[in-house]
Symmetry: C2
Subunit: 350 residues, 2 copies
């Protein structure tokens, strides 16, 4: 994949040069201009030959006959693979990120700020999603508050510091004491449990011990049935920022509209990230070729990483940007923030 058979050093160098000039100029690059700008000057004609080969191999395309060549997704993949990944973030960007994230209070806050600063430094769209709580979603504490007749506020704190609140409408009214008992029962018995298995366990116990705990279990069951511990919760939080950057990138108005519409449908964004970002992988991942899953997103790349603390995945952060973007820079930014994330929570949890 990284270096397909039949591609030698000369070809690789020229391909890289083409991609880099295309990224910086945005216009199809022709043999002549390339010959002029390139230091080890080969003649334009020789470059033409190489370009023809590269086009045959699927790395280059022509918008139309007699225009310059444009890199294909395959070319970008090649390019990304041969990046060293050693580029450092500029001090200016580092301090911008530090500044934006300073004083972060909790996960939601962090994700919101991150999506914003990502869009700033990458000139793309910054996207963050809190991890689907279905995975490793441990209960820290639950607490019920009676608001009105048959109306209860449930606040669930998960181990990773996510707070989820939800107003429940119950079929029967519960007294404050019932609620307190239910909360105490759940907190004592199930702290640290995964929400999903917790609900199953409660259902099971309900069967077995119906006679004993009758009143208590009835309350618990009623609360659970109304979704007090729903693991879907109020869906994942999704933050998308930097739509303005899209305007610069995209010339086709109709497509721009579609892109914005897509980004506003949060579920689509969640799907996109979860389709490509594997929670297990450690490093930054670059996906060229989003058009497979999302047709409007041809000519866009996803550069993302899981946001994790130790082993626990709390969410994902990503930049969606045009294929012609500064890869090294954006990759460093994403990985920098991902590292900051880990550090930040370790330091403040320890």
């Amino acid at each position: 994949m990284g270096s397909p058979s039949g591609i030698g050093k000369r070809e690789r160098e020229i391909l890289t040069a083409i991609i880099e000039t295309y990224i910086s100029t945005g216009e199809p690059v022709g043999s002549r201009t390339l010959a002029r700008t390139n230091r080890e000057s080969l003649s334009a004609a020789s470059i033409r030959n190489v370009m023809a080969d590269l086009a045959d191999a699927g790395f280059l395309e022509q918008p139309h006959t007699s225009a310059g060549r444009v890199p294909t997704p395959q070319a970008y993949r090649f390019y990304v693979n041969q990046l060293t990944g050693e580029a450092r973030l500029s001090p200016a960007d580092e301090s911008l990120i530090q500044g934006s994230l300073h004083g972060t209070q909790d996960l939601q806050d962090f994700l919101e700020r991150t999506s914003h600063v990502l869009s700033l430094v990458s000139h793309g769209i910054g996207v963050t999603v809190s991890s689907t709580p279905a995975l490793r979603n441990a209960l820290e504490h639950v607490y019920f508050q009676r608001l009105a007749e048959r109306k209860v506020l449930a606040v669930v704190v998960t181990r990773n510091g996510l707070v989820r609140d939800r107003v429940l409408r119950l079929p029967n009214d519960l007294a404050i004491s019932d609620l307190e008992a239910a909360a105490a029962y759940i907190n004592q018995n199930f702290r640290g449990w995964d929400m999903e298995t917790l609900r199953n366990e409660i259902a099971k116990r309900l069967q077995q011990e119906r006679s004993d705990y009758d009143r208590l279990m009835a309350s618990v069951e009623q609360l659970c049935a109304q979704g007090a511990l729903a693991s879907e919760g109020p869906a994942q939080t999704v933050y998308v920022e930097g739509a303005a950057n899209l305007v610069i990138t995209e010339q086709d108005k109709e497509r721009l509209r579609q892109l914005l519409t897509t980004l506003e449908e949060k579920q689509r964004v969640v799907d996109l990230l979860s389709a490509y970002l594997d929670a297990r992988q450690e490093a930054v991942r670059v996906v060229v070729g989003l058009e497979d899953t999302m047709p409007h997103l041809n000519n866009f790349v996803l550069i993302g990483a899981p946001a994790r603390v130790g082993d626990e995945v709390m969410g994902s952060l990503a930049v969606i940007g045009p294929t012609r973007m500064d890869y090294e820079h954006t990759i460093s930014a994403v990985s920098y923030i991902a590292r900051m994330f880990d550090q930040f929570w370790n330091q403040s949890d320890g």
Copy 2:
């Protein structure tokens, strides 16, 4: 204002006709086309005369000599004033709104959905903001959860159902029992209090009774100092949706970028709404001429209303759209949702 001196019935009718055709076509309207489409057919020439007068009076403008006339902000204000406000929302829109808002759990949820549905029915930008809690912000319940050493989660439930959570870093560690005592103290003594006066009262009692409650009051004070009951809280929540609609409206790319950037800076949006939406007023308010406060927003209108339950203002909802938009329709939509808001909370609180 509504009918400036020197403007008679004929002028009013023609002005209205001009505005309406401009709204529906989007193109400068000329005397000939107007003469053709209008039922009580005056000749084009007569209309020209009237148009010249209206232009002198500041209601119409010409993009260039020998183009049609375009309404000025002043014309829109006239137009909006003479609307009866009797238009009903179409059943389709009503059910769209009902459907989108069905199953709403809490205020944040409501505001988020509202901004979305507003953008859908108005083809503008839907904006909602939760009211600055500085006003009438009564404490319902507070609850503390120890997360780690010197790290405490504070969850504050306000009387209107807003839940605010915040992670506090304390200078000294507090035991779980300290936290429980502090919460109990606050809940018992200050339920229903305004957050601001509450903090002052605590400071006062701290002075007086230092000797007695020493340990308890120390905890309480520490928690307050770290902002457990901060009335600013994590700022107002702001929801902006429908950026895609902006794309259709706006032709100038640079301006589009600026608009999107502005809308992403939440504070700007809050400022905008609070500048024009008076919490005390009951009805829908239409503001033509946003360019005074926000230069990029020339050619945009704000149609908004406070979201209130009885006397309490919980937030505001608004549509920002191009000056040429369907005013009657949007006004009904905004007012419909504002009414639904009141109903919804009355019904579920009662």
